[in-house]
Amino acid sequence: MAEAPRIAIFGATSAIAQAVARPYAARGARFFLVARDANKLDAVHADLLARGAAQSATRAVDLARTELHAGLVDAAADALAGIDVALIAHGVLPDQAQCQQSFEDARRAIAVNFTSAASLAHELVNRFEKRGEGTVVAIGSVAGDRGRQSNYVYGAAKGALALYLQGVRHRLHGTGVRVITVKPGFVDTPMTAAFPKGPLWASPDRVARDIVRAIDRGESREIYAPGFWRAVMAIIRAVPERLFVRTKL
């Protein structure tokens, strides 16, 4: 990876996205930042410039509007004169209980967490495929590794995204295009503000460190962040269903 890559970030105001962007800003990277809230986007934009970013442009867009994605990715490629790394980091954590009452809530969460993310990945990798290079990084979740009563709507969308990207990775193997699926565990962000925190929780900076390392090493695979979640989820996936259904996980 170039020392100062050209980076497009979708969901640039998310805590993990900010934490990933900062070390690249210090190296003089160039940014195209997309998020819904223009004020928050400006705050992130100014932060990255002050930290040493060579360039930053912003676009305030609701990423649930997938019909805008093709134009948005073109605009990012124009502004940066080519994208080296695209980070897909937007997402919502729906209220599971409400999703069980009304499928509209579930539909909205799936539209943002899966459909919108997959649509962006689609637009990006097709352009990257023509060039024979480019890295797509998308934030999945350990919640996508097994359906659980406490948050299966969120988990289903993140799990679908992981499967989609797994397929893309398979399709583009050997082309030079890299696809990284990040599966964070519990991360202390505004999204999880209402949860009590314990020793399994990680800071956005901790998660970002693993993401930056994977990008810089040119990896193309699934990563768990922090890494111990790979073992935790392997165990959780291995529990037979007839036992698992008796738990409260």
Binding site: A43, V44, A46, D47, A50, P190, A193, F195
Partner: protein, 434 residues
């Protein structure tokens, strides 16, 4: 914003008090929660109870950590209040800039540095941190977001600099940095014997050295009384601009037993430290010079589970010699031992802050393992000496001063009080004023 109740002790871990809730703030433009009494909380590196709010709300500013502007040519930085000095140094030092004023740890936020109007080893030249703040953003419980400076809302600005987080939430600050050619310092270390020698060294160093501070052996008696090491330094011209020194980081893994910092081991350590000190000229990275204790994680655990109390005073120049001698004698007359005792001469550059602690004179910082009534009795005796000399006690290090001592320490208190936000308070404030 989130509510998660946990006990967040101050650095001295005395007193131990729990807030009812901790709300994490994420964006500087957010409206303040309705959760009075509220207190902004950065790193919690204040020693006593200025960063505690028993039964109230702590507004955690750790995620208000964005830079807003950094002009690499003029050296002016504007950033959110939760940015720590450590985070800031990693950005500004490689660009050839240093903090205008720095306390003895990087583990403080900009908001905390401002609210305590912190000082450093260059006070005789540069004044306090607040003297370098050009503007700040203040969110109040009436819903207002104001920009305050010497020109805009000047009284609120003066109340907020050194205002202990009581005038509202500082959301950002802008201040000027100091140009450096290197992240190293040319340091000179000199042994001294007695307060007179310390004062003479301070006098002769003031013009020629930007940084000056002394460690004093507060356990020494007889001919060794008030011996110490005087350190003075200027920024070096060479050495490169690496923001961190390559040093192995130690950490204190558990609470030491209570006797670890009792008188005999501290006396032994001090004697060794005094005799073995490397005197003369050296070139050191800014890290060991400004932040020696940052290299030891959780050093507060050395004081054991009961925690420790600090005592920092300033006394005017005229009675300083007698007052410092009286303070040191009062300590050696008891069984207490101050491990990290620091002497420094403050300069006369004024701070805008109404409750600013630094003022012309001599400051002495002490710390004692908390051993209950006898420790508190000694601190009362120290306060009396300081009050007789017309001095002041530093709130950021205090956990026990009386209302009367606080009132006498801050002559502009009555001017400050009307600016306190009605929805803001702290354990300290209720103790000394409320």
């Amino acid at each position: 914003m989130s509510a998660v109740a946990v006990e967040r002790p101050s650095w001295g871990r005395f007193p131990r008090q729990a807030a009812a809730r901790v709300l994490a703030l994420h964006w500087r433009g957010e409206p303040l929660p309705a959760a009075a009494p509220m207190l902004p909380r950065g790193c919690g590196s204040s020693y006593g109870d200025t960063c505690l709010n028993e039964g109230g709300t702590l507004l955690d500013t750790a995620r208000l950590d964005r830079l807003m502007a950094f002009d690499r040519t003029s050296g002016v930085v504007r950033c959110e209040a939760g940015v720590t000095l450590e985070q800031l140094l990693d950005v500004i030092v490689p660009a050839g800039w240093f903090l205008p004023v720095t306390p003895g740890t990087r583990r403080v936020t900009v908001g905390g540095a401002l609210a305590n109007d912190v000082h450093g080893k260059n006070h005789h030249r540069a004044g306090s941190f607040g003297a370098h703040v050009r503007a700040l953003g203040l969110a109040r419980s009436d819903g207002s977001h104001r920009e305050c400076s010497l020109d805009s809302h000047p009284e609120l600005f003066a109340a907020t600099v050194g205002g202990l987080g009581l005038t509202g939430l500082v959301t950002w600050a802008e201040f000027g940095l100091r140009r450096i050619e290197s992240s190293f310092l040319d340091v000179e270390t000199i042994r001294f014997h007695g307060v007179d020698e310390f004062l003479e060294l301070s006098r002769e160093s003031a013009e020629r050295f930007e940084h000056a501070v002394a460690w004093v052996d507060a356990t020494s008696r007889g001919r060794a009384f008030a011996r110490g090491l005087f350190m003075r330094a200027n920024h070096a011209q060479q050495g490169g601009l690496a923001p961190r020194a390559r040093e192995r980081r130690l950490s204190i893994p558990f609470d030491f037993p209570a006797f670890a910092l009792s008188r005999v081991p501290v006396q032994a350590f001090n004697t060794l430290h005094f005799r073995a000190a490397r005197t003369g000229a050296t070139r050191d990275h800014l890290e060991p010079f400004f932040y020696p204790l940052d290299a030891i994680g959780h050093w507060n655990r050395m004081y054991g589970r009961r925690g420790f109390v600090q005592h920092q005073c300033v006394v005017p120049m005229a009675p300083a010699r007698d007052a410092v001698n009286a303070l040191l004698r009062a300590i050696t007359a008891t069984g207490e031992a101050s491990f990290l005792s620091v002497l420094k001469v403050f300069g006369d550059r004024p701070s805008p802050g109404m409750l600013s602690f630094p003022r012309p004179g001599v400051t002495l910082a002490l710390d004692f393992p908390m051993r209950g009534a006898r420790t508190l009795a000694l601190l009362e005796r120290l306060d009396a000496i300081v009050m007789d000399a017309g001095g002041a006690i530093y709130p950021a290090k205090d956990a026990r001063m009386s209302r009367e001592t606080f009132r006498r320490s801050f002559p502009r208190l009555q001017e400050f009080v009307p600016h306190v936000d009605a929805a803001f308070s702290s354990s300290f404030w209720r103790r000394v004023h409320g």
